[in-house]
Assembly symmetry: D2
Homo-oligomer: 345 residues x 4
């Protein structure tokens, strides 16, 4: 498709984004062109907006940002066989190599050669985006387009929760950002007997309550391990999901988990963390899992199943909606912390 389109781009190193007119991307033989209908802002987009250390190292402007979206296929490459014009889709934006050890042994989300669209390549904060067929996910008609636009972070939550047994287990979730909040609903849907959230922000506590947390602990005013032990008859949580990256939370997790428990880490700490390996990992026989991305594509089937069955209701997670033109306001609210997911239409 020839012509130009609007896109929210990082045009040069430094804070902020620009809404510019740019060329509609061309597609390869195995790609499709998608007209974007809904987009959502990720924490990563906030980092890029602020232009932090990580962004400075990783991004090569000019680049179109955004990797959470929902849209309609408007053009297909010659070797595309499973999708056609008019199909409604979202996509896994980690474009992987399919040839490295990780890709070829069920861990494509850890690909050695990944290119993330919206970070390393042009993304979805635009009218159109080009995506390889092998990365597409067909959106079932039962699913709300706004929810289809947040499969990326919802997938982080599902991947983290589902990385071990869930049914009948007690979960402690450390940190109530959008992924932590989504994880509450996922853990409950996956059979958790009790889900405890530890979070300081009043706004996020309220979201956590709406998403089904059985108990919310404020780590500023309560002793997290003591409360967890009390709620679990002295035993500790079966599963701890670390979603904050905060050193205090990480330490509280180690003191709140039961022997032989599962400690799953998604939050990214800014600095190294000091841990008593003997008392906190080895003697109690703890299992620690580093998690990133989403399984390609077990996680996606799980998301469909949770939403279509109604076991997970993600609606309360979407708290704000803006036109793409009002992106500055949208990013400011995102940076304030007083939001769930923010949609750009």
């Amino acid at each position: 498709m020839n012509g130009t389109m609007k896109a929210l781009r990082k045009m040069k190193p430094g804070p902020g984004l620009e809404l510019v007119e740019t060329t509609i991307p061309g597609i390869k033989h195995d790609e499709v062109l998608i007209k974007v209908i809904k987009r959502a802002i990720c924490g990563t987009d906030l980092h890029i907006y602020k232009w932090d250390e990580w962004s400075e190292k990783r991004l090569k402007p000019p680049v179109t940002t955004g990797h959470e979206f929902y849209g309609e296929i408007v053009e297909t490459g010659q070797e595309v066989t499973h999708y056609k014009k008019g199909d409604l889709v979202t996509a896994e934006m980690h474009v992987v190599c399919h040839q490295c050890f990780q890709c070829r042994t069920g861990n494509a989300h850890l690909c050695e050669n990944v290119v993330i669209l919206g970070v390393d390549g042009n993304g979805a904060f635009a009218d159109y985006i080009a995506v390889p067929e092998i990365n597409l996910w067909r959106v079932p008609p039962e699913i709300d387009p706004e929810l289809a636009a947040i499969y990326d972070p919802f997938g982080n939550a599902v991947h983290t929760v589902m990385s071990g047994p869930t049914a009948g287990k007690t979960f402690l979730i450390l940190g109530g950002g959008p992924i932590g909040i989504a994880a509450i609903a996922v853990a409950k849907a996956a059979g958790a007997a009790m889900v405890i959230l530890s979070e300081v922000s009043q706004y996020r506590k309220e979201l956590g309550r709406k998403m089904g947390a059985d108990r919310i602990i404020d780590p500023k005013t309560e002793d997290v391990p003591a409360v967890v032990k009390e709620l679990t008859k002295g035993q500790g949580a079966d599963v701890v999901l670390e979603m904050s990256g905060h050193p205090d939370a990480i330490a509280q997790g180690f003191k709140s988990i039961r022997k032989s428990g599962r400690y799953t880490l998604l939050g990214i700490p800014a600095k190294p963390i000091t841990v008593d390996f003997s008392q906190d990992i080895i003697f109690p026989g703890i299992n620690i899992q580093g998690i990133n991305g989403r399984r390609m594509y077990e996680t996606w089937y799980q998301m469909d199943a949770f939403l279509i069955s109604g076991k997970v209701d993600l609606r309360p997670l979407i708290t704000h909606r803006f036109k793409m033109a009002d992106y500055k306001e949208a990013f400011e609210i995102g940076l304030s912390g007083n939001s769930g997911k923010i949609i750009l239409e």
Copy 2:
């Protein structure tokens, strides 16, 4: 404790049971004596009552029947250290050897030398029963005594459901006897996206509906695999639980399951079954699991968790209550098939 008690015993080979006066059992150093408060009738008890071929081979009368119960400890052996008089308990009635390969590798429910109390040794259809300490299960105060009395069959259901991934999966349950019915509620609690029950009896269909089945198929009037395929967008059920032992149901299961699905068998067929190994197992990469008993004691913790959290409501499963003296009426109703679980008080 000296003295006599009432007990429902098989006094000699042949149908029926007798309510007799007999000696209160003595206890070994590692056993406790329990005053039985609630009992429940199992399908096995019905076989013993009818005196079928299996009973004839297995039982050595005289023996006190019954292996589902709830009671209070009234006496403890000298080497009992974790329980005391007044504790409220139920028990795993498979008394295992703790020395065979199965016992020592996490499969005590498959012990080579098992003695089942109520079948091979004196059981719980009596005022008192002696049980080894290592077999006791402390009943948390949150749990209804009647439900504590049915941990044995509830455990069969939980063990069957929990023998593989559950969250987000579609289950087909073949057969709506008490265990199949309980499995509906367990699968839903464990995160199943959809639970389909196949059952002919009107009474049991109604129970299935109360316990949460999303769809009930009548194999007399509907084409089970066709309905399952339609409900699963052509794919087939992720998990099939065979709870009937019926050859037709088993065949329907093979035609209703998806490739690489889990086919878990609990129902006991009376005769050998003919299967197309190539088309039904090997090409589609099916995994078949034979299941019996309950895991000692993972399953028991799962039962506590499901009941205490309220994720499973077993109350509708208990449909009848009798005094032990009215046992004949109780057994007749059990044999009619028009019942869930029957309690003997």
Copy 3:
């Protein structure tokens, strides 16, 4: 590449193959053209040669046969990025859709839309073959080209053995065809404490001995379950691998396996099999696995590791070598059963 080449083709329905001159295949943007250096004859090729019922239903002549090979890339499509001219490769010949549930959840070997080159599309019994980049496997320099040519059947053996715990286990392998024979060496390399082969043919018994079987049972003259029980102190084999498809062998497997054992099925029975589900699966808690193909690509990494480390020596498995022109003689020896793998150069 333009021009013609020699190819061993099924030109029309019926027995036999023809060595003909045909066009060198063109390649798509994501494919490579490979000059074939070594080929091997599979049991499937023998079925196609004989033109049995399965072949008649499945094949659409004219088609070039053969799916086991080793070769050198001579041309690459425009979108091929990881391979270049001169690279030495073999390939997974199951060309899968990457879009069905099985493909997208780690079971691509069970793809709903698979096209097998050499069966459904043109294969490797030719001078050149076109293969998608995503199906290629780079052959490490340490690996003998003849062994690289048999990764397909070696992969069947590795997949079957590695479908559960192996180290310290006792294996019973039923049937000593090339895959069963390879499985002996794989099981030993993977830590099996004892590998027992059951096989009638003198030729194959001898191969089994060379590949490391600890004990070979002749099911014609010995009681397989009795011998296995004796060798395992009465317990039975931890793992049974069914590689024959023979009803008697399958029955012997059920009687030779221990409680909670793994029964893995690869051999394809010609007819339905009758099994005592109660005594042979449910009461003993057996786990049955239907297996086909090879994991894409866990199995391939395992093959590299076993060969490069020297833990598996496959050389004795290759018993015959022919020029492609002498294909009739090669197929006759394959059909006689008195061979391991046969190479076509």
Copy 4:
């Protein structure tokens, strides 16, 4: 059995042990009395001998030390049913409660109420020891009595190696004490494609070579991660076993492991360790396992299987033998680090 016996006891807080005359222990109804034939010195015994901080906190003298042994049953309690006088045994010396969550869910080695004989109760450095029947392990006649005496540390090695997939994997073992050295042989037997040992001591390097290490790195003179990357074509080790407790080794492990690898920790660091959670655990998707003790009793069956099959040859691990009377010399050699396992006869 009445009378007195010789025993190596800690009589009061402080360094050293005393060889004294003491009463032969009585047995409970579920215990046996064992005449000890072989004993071995554990690292824990060295700590007790030196009287370090841990010993001071944990031990309550007087207590008989020693928890690695082989012996013959000379007396059985009234409720012992599976063993008799004359049986040759070793034992798991962790006497567990069988009632806590860990005990009842397959993790008895993490029992909340464990009593370790030889640490918390009287041990095996004596002529006789009393052990509960449920803790006994029958020694098969094929097994060398000296090796039966070291099932405890051998079990640590087997448990650590077998806590994840082994066959075809590359292992890096950090630290060549007796357990690390045993782990080399176990990993090789369990199918490891390559086993790399990192160790500084010349004596232990030599032992590592004898036990089958494919490559030994000296962390004093070589760059461990660089060498591991080179040996694994840039990828890193599939599995890292931390057996040293040393902070530098732990850091090297994180830099030597591949993405999604298994990092299993057995060595006990004396102080907290600082780790870059983001770069070393979360982004690469690492799985960390804290390990202690041995699985009761999967590990024990694995040990039997490895020794009886000859897949593991532990003989080179036993480097010294002393009479119990010469215990001082034995402990001095143990403290020097220039020994494998030391037997007390």
